[in-house]
Amino acid sequence: MGQIVLEKVTKSFGDVTVIPPLDLTIEDGEFAVFVGPSGCGKSTLLRLIAGLEDVSSGEIRIDGKESASIPPAKRGLAMVFQSYALYPHMTVRKNIAFPLRMAGLDKAEQDRRVEQAAAVLNLTDYLERRPGQLSGGQRQRVAIGRAIVREPAAFLFDEPLSNLDAALRVGMRLEISELHNRLKTTMIYVTHDQVEAMTMADKIVVLRAGHIEQVGSPLELYKAPRNLFVAGFIGSPKMNLIEGAEAAKHNAKTIGIRPEHISISATEGRWSGVVGVSEHLGSDTFFHVQETGLGETLTVRADGEVNFRHGDRIFLTPRDDVMHRFDDKGLRIA
């Protein structure tokens, strides 16, 4: 159905290489998330798959069919844009029906599919409105509706939630995941938000400067980041990375320990430090601990009830079994 294979794909704009040779396979029905800091080439990669940009070299196979030279309209993919990109002069009904109209479906079939999509997305009451009369979340749903009616081989999402406020974002995140569970269609989702990546993906592709740093399931990336970049990027708050004598004790250039893998105590522990800023989230509290002698401010997660004040001296003990070790090239030591 919707397997997407990239082979030695490259993209340059003039002299600037955005994507160096890159290989990647996204299996049929998989929810793949491209994640990375801005400018890492994740959107470009998505646009190459969509056909909105031409590859400089290499092959893209969709469903086993060589597609790099096929125009976007013929690739059988649907895309949801960051700006939603709805047609402002058409009603919601016409927006959703547009791909069907382009495919030459008869009016009755168009209507049937639009009604069906609208019911799924809670848009039935808004079908006769124009995009300008809808809220951000509703527009987002129309954009998704326009994508699902044509039953594409794969969905492409380009940072679709970044224009929504925080509460809506969480809601839409669930809706998109739910949609994926129901449709079982391949989805490729681009985001810079590692929380979205962790919560939605079957497979995360971490990109930096056009290179794939690591591909894996969210838990694989969390448990065994291949290098320092992935270690620092996946997980919230960030992993503590410690260099120097403490790392040398573990035969590593750098050691990494996640905030949730350090226990905290008022009386005893391996390391000690002074509480700086504490962030109380209710369920959890994050302490930023200074003067640890490790050269870094450590972030430590504690239970919501644990209460230390600014300036208190506390003791910390990392869990050695979940400590990450990296060599002088920044690569993971198994």
């Binding site: 125009p71 309209a73 993919l77 895309m79 700006s83 709805l86 547009f98 382009m102």
Partner: protein
């Protein structure tokens, strides 16, 4: 903090707006009033305002002395023709500049605008000679082409700024939705661009209708439009103010009516990009 506007301030603003409006409209009003006076009343000192013997005499004389409908017809053909011809060239030009810009696009746009900085009389002589050579003098087709060329930079600029406002992502969405180039232009781009195209057309008709420099210099009898019709009444001899006013009123009436009905569209088109 919201600015609080007092009643006094508001009424002052209204008053000033009305004064400016009336000042701008006064010449037109005076022309229309004068066209209903006798020649003696037209130059009376102190001027008579509303209480004179309203007469249609001037209109009758103007009708008798010259063939209004021929001038009107020429104006329609020249203004309409130059607009249609101009749009045929300007739409694709602005389109490509807005959607497939090159490194030189900005330069070309500025260069086009710079041609408007040249005083028209500076190129009158060469154009006049070219017209004689090509046999275009006093022809509608010649005038249509000249007016089209004069207004082309403005048309391209207006359309360009309008097209620029159409987000590229919408066109990409259409492509992803299965639209080919033809469908993309027909169902997505054109409907979104229509307000811009409409106001460009309107402004251009008005500019071409009122253009006098070229129409007076390049026509004699056959192709003369309404601007020449007005000019034929501004004679240095005799008392012709009232008749001149009647002719002017007849010349500006069609475009005034068109402008009145399309003012909303025009204002929107002219302020587009500045006010969102």
């Amino acid at each position: 903090m919201a600015r609080s506007v007092t009643i006094q301030r508001k009424s002052l603003n209204t008053l000033i707006a009305w004064i400016i409006g009336l000042l701008l409209f006064f010449p037109i009003l005076w022309t229309i009033l004068t066209s209903f006076k006798t020649e003696a009343q037209a130059i009376a000192d102190p001027p008579v305002w509303f209480f004179f013997d309203w007469t249609l005499e001037n209109y009758r004389v103007v009708q008798e002395r010259s063939n209004y409908s021929r001038f009107l017809w020429n104006s329609i053909i020249i203004a309409g023709g130059s607009t249609i011809l101009g749009m045929i060239i300007a739409i694709p030009a602005a389109w490509s500049m807005a959607f497939v810009p090159s490194n030189r696009t900005k330069d070309i746009l500025l260069w086009m605008l710079s041609t408007k900085m040249l005083p028209a009389v500076g190129v009158l002589y060469p154009i006049y000679l070219i017209f004689i050579q090509l046999g275009l003098l006093d022809t509608r087709i010649g005038l249509t082409i000249v007016l089209m060329l004069i207004n082309l930079p403005i048309m391209v600029w207006m359309l360009y700024t309008y097209f620029k406002e159409i987000p590229g992502e919408i066109l990409e969405a259409a492509r992803m939705d299965g639209a080919g180039l033809k469908e993309e232009i027909l169902y997505v781009l054109t409907p979104m661009a229509i307000p811009g195209i409409a106001s460009t057309v309107l402004l251009n008709i008005i500019l071409a209708w009122n253009e006098a420099f070229w129409t007076l210099n390049l026509t004699a009898a056959r192709a003369a439009p309404l601007t020449a019709f007005i000019a034929s009444y501004s004679s240095p001899e005799g008392l012709f103010y009232a008749k001149l006013s009647a002719a002017s009123t007849m010349a500006i009436a069609p475009i005034l009516i068109l402008g009145w009905f399309s003012q909303k569209q025009l204002v929107r088109g002219l302020t587009f990009g500045a006010v969102k």
